[in-house]
C-alpha cells in the first residue's frame, strides 16, 4: 500500500484518457484490487475495534482511546470512504456515457459493447427499453426525443457557422455555411449540423426582462 487509494485513482485516470463519447475497457482487475484494498482497511479497523472490545471485556478500566489509535482508525475509515467514492464516480461516469450513447447514437456500438462488463450491458438494455417505452406511441409521449440535444423552443433555431462547410441544401432552399455567418434553419435540420460541429447554437435574450433569471 504505497499510496492511499492510488489504484482507484488510476482507474479514473484511465477512463478520463478516453474521449467523452467512448468508454475505456472495464478494468476488472483494478476494480477487484480496489475492493481488496477496502477489505484490507476494513480488516485493520476491525482488528483495532476487536482489540478494544477484548480489553473492555477483560474488565480493564474503560480508558481513553489514545491518539495514535484514534488517528489510525480515522485514516482507515477515510480511505474506505475515498475508495468508495472513486469507484462510484467510475461507475457513474461510465453509466452517463452509456446513457449519452443511447441518446446520440441510438444503439450501443459493438466496439463499445466489448468494453462493458456484464452488468453495464444489462443496465444499457434496461435503460434503452425504458426510454423506448417512454417515446413509444402506445404507452408514452409518441415522439422521438433523441432527435434534439436540447429541447427546442421554436420551429427554427439560429445557428452560427464554425467552419466553412460550403453550400448545404435545406428544406426551405439553399444556404451557405461559412465561419461567422448566422443562419436560421429548422430545428430538426440543425441537429446533425450541431452534432458534427459545423455550427453552434446561438442563444439570444428574448427581449430584455422577458426571460426569467
Amino acid at each position: 500500500m504505497s499510496a492511499l487509494a492510488a489504484r482507484a485513482r488510476d482507474l479514473l485516470k484511465e477512463l478520463k484518457s478516453y474521449s467523452s463519447d467512448t468508454l475505456s475497457p472495464y478494468n476488472e482487475e483494478l476494480v477487484r484490487l480496489t475492493f481488496s484494498e477496502i477489505d484490507e482497511h476494513n480488516a485493520q479497523t476491525e482488528a483495532i475495534v476487536s482489540e478494544m472490545r477484548r480489553r473492555q471485556q477483560e474488565g480493564e478500566e474503560p480508558q481513553q482511546v489514545d491518539e495514535v489509535t484514534a488517528t489510525t482508525m480515522c485514516l482507515h475509515y477515510e480511505c474506505i470512504k475515498r475508495n468508495k467514492r472513486l469507484l462510484l464516480i467510475y461507475m457513474n461516469e461510465r453509466m452517463q456515457r452509456l446513457r449519452d450513447m443511447r441518446w446520440t447514437q441510438r444503439a450501443l456500438p459493438e466496439t463499445q459493447k466489448a468494453r462493458c462488463c456484464q452488468s453495464e450491458i444489462q443496465f444499457y438494455n434496461d435503460y434503452s427499453r425504458v426510454l423506448s417505452t417512454y417515446m413509444s406511441r402506445a404507452e408514452g409521449v409518441g415522439m422521438d426525443l433523441t432527435l434534439d440535444t436540447k429541447p427546442p423552443k421554436d420551429m427554427a433555431v439560429t445557428v452560427r457557422g464554425l467552419k466553412d462547410a460550403g453550400e448545404v441544401v435545406l428544406s426551405y432552399g439553399r444556404a451557405t455555411i461559412l465561419t461567422g455567418t448566422t443562419i436560421s434553419i429548422p430545428a430538426e435540420e440543425a441537429e446533425p449540423l450541431i452534432r458534427d460541429g459545423t455550427v453552434e447554437l446561438v442563444e439570444w435574450d428574448d427581449g430584455y426582462g422577458r426571460n426569467k433569471q
Binding site: 435545406l170 448566422t182 429548422p186 435574450d205 427581449g207
Partner: protein, 649 residues
C-alpha cells in the same frame, strides 16, 4: 425605387416573396464596421425570426465580398430577396454583383448620397428605404433617367474626342468628365456604349441646342448632387425600429438597439444635434410607454444596500459626455474624452496640470479622482455633476459639449450608458486579432452582436469597454505625439490637414488599421490641431491614412471640418477628390468600402495618393472660386437686366 417611410409594405412584399418561392431563405449582408449595423442586424433578425422567415446573415467589409457571396445566385432562377444593411445605397449593386432580375434587393443604408439610378419609380425589384425625415430628403435625389445619362455620357465622350484631336495630352477631356460626377463614372463604364451613337449623330437639327442645354442642366444637377450630398442619413436602426413598431414587436431590447445606433451616429458627428434630439425624444417617449409600473424601484438614497436588478431597465438620462466615465476614474475619463483632450491638450504635462486644476476646483480630491468611479462615495459623482457646469468654462470647456440627453441601461449592479455601449461595441469590432482577416471581422461582428444581449453576455460588454479604453488612450497619446512631432501636415490656412500614420510611431499599432478607429482619430486630430491656432475659424477637414495591415492594405479616411447644426446633411467634401485622385493615379481598388470617404489602397500607393490629393483639392479651390466669380457676375448681369427692364417699363 426609393421607398419613403412605408417600410411595412416592403416587409410584407418580402414575406410574400419568400412564401411563393422555392428558395425561401432571405440573404442579409451587413456592413461590419459600425455599431449601427450591429444593432440594425439584430433588430432585423429578431423580426425575421418571429415571422418564421429563414435567413442567412453575412457580415461583410467591402463590395468585393458581397459580390463573391452572390456568385451562386447569378444562375439561380427562383425569386430571392437580398437585404443589404448599411451598404449598397450609394452604388448600383445589381450590376456590381451581376445579379439577375429575379432577385429583389432591399437596401437599408445610412450612407449618402443614394445613387440616383435607384430613384426609378418603375424598378420595383430594387428598393431603397429612405425615411421622410432623412437629412437628405427624397426629392433632392435626381430622378433616374437612363436616356439623359446616356446623353450626358455621350456628349462627354464626344467632347473628349474633340479635345484629344485638339490637344494631345487630353487634360481637357478629363476635366469635362470629372464634372459629371466621378461616382457615376467609376460605376458605369458601360453607360457610354457606342451602339447608340450613330443615330444621335444623324439627328442634327433645330432640337440640338435645346438638347445640349438640357444635357448641361442634367450634368450640372447630378454634379451638384454628388458633390454636396456626401454623408450619412437617418440611422438604419431607427428605420428598422419603426418597422418593429409597426409589427408591434417593440420592447426594451429593440429600443435599446435603436438608441445605440442613434448615439453612434451622433458621437461620430454623422448627424446634427437637432436631428439627434428629435429622434431621441421619440425614443424617450417609447421608453415611457414600455416601462412596467411594477418595475419601478424608488431610488432611496438612505438605503445603502442596493439590490441587484434581474431585469434590464432602460431609462432616459441626462448624462455627462465623458467617455466611459462609469467604467473608468474621473481623471482618466476626463483625460481621454476627445473633446476635453483636444481643448486642454492633455497629452502634455501642461494640459494635465490644467485638468487637475479643474478637478481640484470641483472639490474632488485628486486621490479620489484617480480611483475607479464605481467605488467612489456618492458625494463625488454628485460634485462632478453640480460643479462641472460652473468650472468647465473657466478651463476653456463649453458645458454644452459636456452634457447630453441620453439613455441608461441598468442591469444587476451595472450601469451602461448609450455611449458606453457604443464604445463597447466598437471595442469588440475593432479589437485586433491575429489570423485570417476575413474570418476575424466576422467573428468580431458576432461578438459585438452577442454583447447586445447583456443578460447573457455582460462579460463581453466589459471586455469591449476595456478595448475601448485602449482605443481612447492610444488615440490621445499617439495623436499628441504626432502633433508635437509636427507630423500633421497643413497649417493654419491650408485647405485641409492630413497625416500618414505610417510615418509615426503608431505604425505598429494594429488598432489603427480599422476605419472606424481612424475616423475617431481624425475627429480628434481635427479638434486638437484647430485649438493650436488662435483664430476662431481654424477648423479644417482632416484626412488620415492608416498603417498597413497584414495584407499590406492601408485605409484612408476623411472627416468634414465642422459639426453643422440644423436639419441638413453633414457633407463630407472629400468623396469626389478621393475618387478623382484615385482615378488620376490609376490606383487599383482592392477593397471598395461602403462609405465613400473611406478608401483602401496598397501601402505603396499611399504617399503618391496624399500628394496628388493636395493638387486635386487645390484645383477644387480654384474651381470653386471661379464658380463663385461666375455666379457673382451672372447675378450682376441679371440685376442690370432687371434694372434695364424696369427702366424700359
Amino acid at each position: 425605387m426609393i421607398v419613403p417611410g412605408n417600410i411595412g409594405q416592403v416587409y410584407d412584399a418580402v414575406k410574400l416573396d419568400t412564401k411563393h418561392s422555392e428558395d425561401q431563405g432571405v440573404l442579409c449582408f451587413v456592413a461590419c464596421t459600425e455599431a449601427d449595423s450591429v444593432c440594425a442586424a439584430q433588430i432585423l433578425l429578431n423580426l425575421l425570426q418571429r415571422e418564421n422567415i429563414h435567413f442567412t446573415l453575412i457580415p461583410v467589409e467591402c463590395y468585393e465580398e458581397v459580390r463573391d457571396h452572390c456568385q451562386p445566385l447569378r444562375e439561380a432562377e427562383e425569386l430571392k430577396t437580398i437585404i443589404l444593411v448599411n451598404c449598397g445605397a450609394t452604388e448600383d449593386v445589381r450590376s456590381l454583383c451581376e445579379l439577375p432580375n429575379n432577385i429583389r434587393i432591399v437596401i437599408i443604408d445610412n450612407h449618402r448620397p443614394v445613387w440616383h439610378g435607384h430613384n426609378n419609380g418603375e424598378d420595383s425589384d430594387t428598393l431603397v428605404l429612405v425615411d421622410k425625415d432623412d437629412p437628405l430628403p427624397v426629392d433632392e435625389i435626381p430622378v433616374a433617367n437612363h436616356e439623359a445619362d446616356l446623353d450626358v455620357a455621350d456628349s462627354d465622350s464626344e467632347a473628349e474626342e474633340d479635345d484629344s484631336e485638339a490637344e494631345d495630352d487630353g487634360e481637357g477631356g478629363g476635366d469635362d468628365e470629372d464634372e459629371q460626377g466621378g461616382r457615376k463614372r467609376r460605376r458605369g463604364s458601360g453607360d457610354a456604349g457606342p451602339s447608340g451613337r450613330p443615330a444621335k449623330r444623324s439627328s442634327i437639327g433645330p432640337g440640338r441646342e435645346e438638347r445640349a442645354a438640357l444635357r448641361r442642366e442634367r450634368a450640372a444637377q447630378i454634379d451638384a448632387y454628388y458633390s454636396t450630398c456626401n454623408g450619412f442619413g437617418k440611422p438604419s436602426t431607427l428605420l428598422l425600429y419603426s418597422l418593429c413598431k409597426e409589427m408591434q414587436q417593440e420592447d426594451n431590447f429593440h429600443v435599446w438597439c435603436a438608441i445605440v445606433g442613434l448615439t453612434e451616429q451622433f458621437i461620430f458627428q454623422q448627424i446634427s444635434k437637432q436631428q439627434y434630439n428629435m429622434w431621441r425624444d421619440a425614443l424617450a417617449n417609447d421608453i415611457l410607454v414600455q416601462q412596467d409600473p411594477q418595475d419601478e424601484v424608488p431610488d432611496d438614497p438612505s438605503n445603502i444596500l442596493v439590490m441587484p436588478r434581474h431585469k434590464v431597465a432602460v431609462e432616459a438620462h441626462e448624462d455627462l459626455r465623458l467617455t466611459l466615465l462609469r467604467h473608468w476614474s474621473i481623471e482618466e475619463s476626463l483625460r481621454y474624452t476627445g473633446y476635453v483632450a483636444a481643448r486642454l491638450q492633455t497629452w502634455r504635462q501642461k494640459g494635465l496640470d490644467n485638468l487637475r486644476s479643474l478637478i481640484t476646483y470641483m472639490c474632488i480630491p485628486l486621490k479620489q479622482a484617480a480611483t475607479a468611479y464605481k467605488g467612489l462615495p456618492k458625494m463625488f459623482p454628485g460634485q462632478l455633476r453640480s460643479n462641472l457646469p460652473r468650472f468647465a468654462p473657466q478651463h476653456m470647456l463649453a458645458w454644452d459639449s459636456l452634457h447630453l440627453n441620453s439613455f441608461l441601461l441598468r442591469y444587476k449592479h451595472e450601469e451602461v450608458t448609450a455611449s458606453d455601449m457604443v464604445f463597447a461595441l466598437l471595442g469588440l469590432l475593432t479589437a485586433p486579432k491575429p489570423g485570417s482577416v476575413a474570418r476575424s471581422h466576422r467573428d468580431a461582428f458576432n461578438e459585438a452582436q452577442s454583447a447586445l444581449h447583456v443578460q447573457r453576455n455582460l462579460h463581453l460588454v466589459e471586455r469591449g469597454i476595456e478595448q475601448a479604453k485602449k482605443i481612447c488612450q492610444d488615440v490621445v497619446h499617439e495623436c499628441g505625439l504626432m502633433i508635437t512631432a509636427n507630423k500633421v501636415k497643413g497649417g493654419r490656412n491650408a485647405d485641409y490637414r492630413f497625416v500618414n500614420v505610417a510615418d509615426s510611431n503608431a505604425v505598429a499599432n494594429p488598432r489603427f488599421t480599422h476605419p472606424t478607429v481612424l475616423k475617431y482619430m481624425a475627429l480628434f486630430l481635427r479638434d486638437a490641431t484647430s485649438h493650436r491656432f488662435s483664430s476662431a475659424d481654424a477648423r479644417r477637414p482632416v484626412v488620415v491614412a492608416g498603417p498597413p495591415d497584414e495584407a499590406g492594405m492601408c485605409c484612408v479616411v476623411a472627416v468634414q471640418a465642422k459639426h453643422i447644426s440644423g436639419k441638413g446633411l453633414q457633407n463630407n467634401p472629400f468623396a469626389r477628390p478621393f475618387l478623382e485622385t484615385v482615378s488620376a493615379l490609376n490606383i487599383l481598388c482592392m477593397k471598395s468600402a461602403f462609405d465613400n470617404t473611406t478608401f483602401y489602397m496598397r501601402k505603396e500607393d499611399v504617399a503618391g495618393f496624399l500628394s496628388k490629393l493636395q493638387e486635386v483639392v487645390g484645383d477644387y479651390g480654384v474651381k470653386q472660386q471661379m464658380q463663385q466669380e461666375v455666379q457673382a457676375a451672372a447675378a450682376q448681369v441679371a440685376a442690370a437686366a432687371a434694372q434695364v427692364e424696369v427702366g424700359a417699363a
